[in-house]
Symmetry: C2
């Protein structure tokens, strides 16, 4: 947030922007009895941009969303989300159920089915309990409110430990513009074009093609730059609604800054909530030939099991960091490498420097101690040359707890 | 080994083929005091093929090996290996030390420096202790013997729990041909063009270009098809010597079968010895459009943290397996997916089948119980269509122990 002097954080999450309504209720889809059905409704005239998982094994709802956005040029108003079952690998029934749910929601709101999207998250291969869900649609719609962001953000979670919400506000020209967001995700996180599930709202309208392009760039710099365990999900979806008075073209750049900041805040909070994680790892790469190259290296370092376990062990292990950078598939001269962990410089001109190992280890351990959403970011900075390309990726440490969570439970 | 009726296992490892000599001694390079210097000498007339890490951060010895093989068209006779220090990220000194060691070995053997290669493995960023190594060259050469395979295989290890050796013999036409191999590797294993360190000897000679091509194909089907933690090393090197009477062209195919079997046996033993592993995971993919596509999917499944932790937890979690297959970057129709874990079929035509979960879990737990080099392979078979492409990759489960090994120690 420090990069911007224009955008300020506000409360309200996904419903902070004017005109949006949301709700979240218990429909009886999760064995735990926690909230599991949420609804987000955009005002009339909204456009919606979406990015989706590139996995070949996709849930039916992902195809449904992508098709409806394309068919309508983004003229979509509603997204309903169920948590508990991902509705992936459920055969023909998967699409039938997704269609039935969006029809029921559309009927209840007096909209056409084509204006309603659906996202699902949870266990793969298990059908959604339709007999519980359909009777819950009317109460879900009845619960809609202009400050329902918290309820909605809570009802989309699965193994997440915390809700992920953010909202920003800026004075742009004569008016106040707000952007809100929420997301979920903790395991199976290595998004490729989108996150597990992420949503954004904005109360300024932008032409659909410009909005879609802006959202895609923001996603590349946020959700596509995080990794928890390298596993891309079957249901990754990010949906961004823009609705309200249009912004003039010369103010789109500042809007994009806000869109990117919201997306990055949500993405960081997913990485921080990685299964078993005790800290967020942020890897900045500079001096690359392009942003793409920089992002590729930074994400490779973030995803390295050896780097992740070293951070978990409070070990300033520069050898593992440069080894990971070296295998990222990006050409650079090792002689130009410089490396910092926090304030400690560990390498210059490709060679290790003498450094205070105890102090560097203390820097890591002060951050990797499991405090939640405090100052728990381990910063790694890598300079690989004198190019103008720079990029940042986020991940988390790899703990015994990650193994236990994923060895002991079927997800 | 069951695929072949021609090649039979024999003892002797790297020195099983006629004419090769090896040794391994304690030079005082490892703090543990274990053997740390080994030598392999091929008979006159040998050709050597090599494949090397594609990492941008390579140790000086890797470049030295690659350059000398190219400059001499493979006319190289000797490889010396030190364990304890990888001699990567050691600046200009790295190359000076590598040159000095090969010169000393060449002088002692009465060869030219260009006929000697060097491999190094161990901690990154620490120079080799030259003052300990150089005086050890004469005893190392004096220890050479025609049955020195065990000593050599032992002296190249670092965190490995067991030595990795294999030798095969076949009657080809009128003569007996032998192929031997040894390797090391346990962590930072995700080779790209080579393994951590692997060596092969063969007592039939093959023209250099044919030998190099044969070795590269075998490496693609073995070392390039394993993963322990996704981290490609700075020092990955595979060297294969062929020396002896030439084989006629029509017998090269059967030789290649043996070369591939030796490479696969070594690669499997590296994956099985993965840090913290309790079993080997073998993923067979069939029905792909090409061998390349099949290998890409099988290696992606092997490398999935969620699949690895599921196997560690004896969980027949087909959802994680198909999710990993879906993100491999290979196009296929999810409707065609079929999946087996051991003898248990879990999916057909893209949908889950009813199966005996307890029996499938027992199948995994009987194998993933940490018995070493017994029947500890968890077999996963995935059919993705009706193409002719098939391929197999190997990995291991991900345990709490892996995290502890890599969080608690600087490597």
């Amino acid at each position: 947030m420090t990069q911007s002097s224009i955008w300020s954080p506000i409360s309200g999450g996904i419903t902070a922007p004017t005109g949006f309504q949301a709700s979240g209720i218990i429909a009886g889809l999760k064995p735990s009895g926690k909230p599991d059905l949420s609804l987000l409704v955009a005002p009339e005239g909204a456009v919606c941009a979406g990015t989706f998982t590139t996995s070949m094994v996709r849930a039916a709802c992902v195809d449904l969303c992508a098709d409806r956005l394309i068919d309508s040029d983004g003229r979509v108003r509603v997204v309903v989300t169920n948590s508990g079952q991902a509705n992936a690998c459920t055969g023909d029934r998967g699409l039938v159920d997704s269609l039935g749910i969006t029809q029921a929601v559309a009927d209840c709101l007096g909209l056409s089915q084509e204006q309603v999207l659906i996202c699902s998250t949870g266990v793969i291969g298990v059908p959604i309990s339709i007999k519980n869900l359909l009777p819950a649609v009317a109460p879900l719609v009845a619960a809609l409110k202009a400050n329902g962001g918290d309820e909605a953000a809570n009802a989309i979670l699965t193994t997440d430990l915390v809700t992920k919400q953010i909202a920003l506000e800026a004075q742009i020209g004569e008016r106040c513009v707000r952007i809100g967001g929420m997301a979920k995700g903790s395991g199976m996180i290595h998004p490729d074009m989108a996150t597990m599930l992420g949503y954004m709202t904005c109360d300024a309208s932008v032409p659909f093609d410009l909005w879609q392009a802006m959202v895609r760039r923001a996603v590349d710099r946020s959700f596509n730059a995080i990794t928890v365990d390298g596993d891309t999900s079957t249901n990754d979806t990010f949906l961004a609604f823009a609705a309200g008075d249009p912004l003039p073209p010369d103010q789109l750049e500042v809007l994009e800054e806000g869109v990117t900041l919201v997306a990055q805040a949500l993405a960081r909070s997913i990485a921080r909530d990685g299964e078993g994680a005790t800290c967020l790892i942020e890897v900045q790469v500079e001096g690359a030939n392009s942003e793409r190259d920089a992002l590729r290296i930074s994400r490779t370092v973030c995803g390295s099991s050896l780097v992740k376990t070293a951070v978990h062990g409070r070990d300033p292990n520069w050898g593992r960091i440069v080894a990971a950078a070296g295998r990222a598939g990006v050409a650079f001269s090792p002689d130009a490498l410089a490396l910092w962990i926090g304030p400690h410089q560990l390498m210059a001109a490709g060679e290790p420097l003498p450094f205070d190992r105890a102090a560097a280890s203390t820097y890591i351990s002060e951050r990797a101690c499991g405090r939640y959403l405090l100052d728990d970011t381990v910063e790694i900075r890598l300079s690989i040359g004198d190019g103008a390309g720079h990029g940042t990726a986020w991940g988390c440490d790899l703990s015994d707890q990650y193994v236990r969570i994923n060895a002991d439970y079927t997800t």
